[in-house]
Symmetry: C2
Subunit: 135 residues, 2 copies
DNA sequence: CTTTGTGCAAAGGCTTTGCATGCTT
DNA sequence: AAGCATGCAAAGCCTTTGCACAAAG
């Protein structure tokens, strides 16, 4: 079927890819592909919208960014640390804080086991209004 | 602007609404609007797709069904109990179990407070393979 | 009789894909 | 030179909306 899959699929260093990664590195809140595309254009380093989508998708697959599905169908992305973690997101400005949740991890596993579900996974996000926005 | 809003916004009893509620009551897994529409047609009690969407949305607003955003942008619905709860969803067949999470609720609140975030809310879903599917 | 619900078809918004060209290796 | 990456435009998908008609209260 498919050739003997080896490690990481080649990722070339292009101006676009670099620009996207750089911008993402400077952003601490969740952003949409479209917004990112707009910022890149405004900033001069214009990149095709499809490229933004493709790159973001690739990074998500590689675990380099976290994806959050908004209620309106728009996907939000944010760079993230490699370790497993959860987010505390400000519902006003989108600012994000990565938090750990050993307790929650354990809870999730326990819940799954209790019902005989194997191979547990979970999606957890906490929302709130951050200090700056509630002022 | 708007008239003095009183209690519940009138919900009329129509054949369509009844059919949707009935089908939902018989389903214990998350379903998409389109799938629901197809099942209704197949079952004879055909209902317009827009009506399905509108009804589902109304029920979601009323807290009669839970909404789950799939990665591909399709929304999944499922009837639910009025009390606050979370879901344990089988990633194979979609079967769902409602679970409580006092511990998690507390954790979420604590996490928010720790970072000065007010008015905490959360989205939590646990996935796994159910007994029947892992067999 | 008045008001809300329904259908159909068209519009919308985000995302994906086909294909020819340019750039990285 | 060989192959992935990029752009543009078109296509896809799910969902929402406008409007005229039917049904509920």
């Amino acid at each position: 079927m498919s050739p003997p899959e080896k490690g990481a699929p080649t990722t070339r260093t292009t101006r676009q890819r670099t620009a996207i990664e750089a911008l993402l590195a400077d952003t601490s809140s969740f952003t949409s592909a479209q917004h990112l595309h707009a910022r890149l254009s405004a900033q001069g380093s214009s990149v095709g919208l499809s490229t933004v989508y493709r790159t973001l998708q690739a990074m998500a697959d590689a675990g380099e960014v976290d994806v959050l599905r908004q209620g309106d169908g728009e996907a939000l992305y944010r760079r993230c640390s490699p370790a497993h973690h959860h987010h505390l997101v400000c519902r006003e400005c989108g600012r994000t804080v990565e938090v750990e949740g050993r307790d929650v991890e354990a809870w999730a596993v326990r819940v799954a086991q209790t019902h005989g579900f194997t191979d547990p996974t979970h999606d957890i996000e906490v929302f709130g209004t951050c200090p700056d926005c509630s002022r």
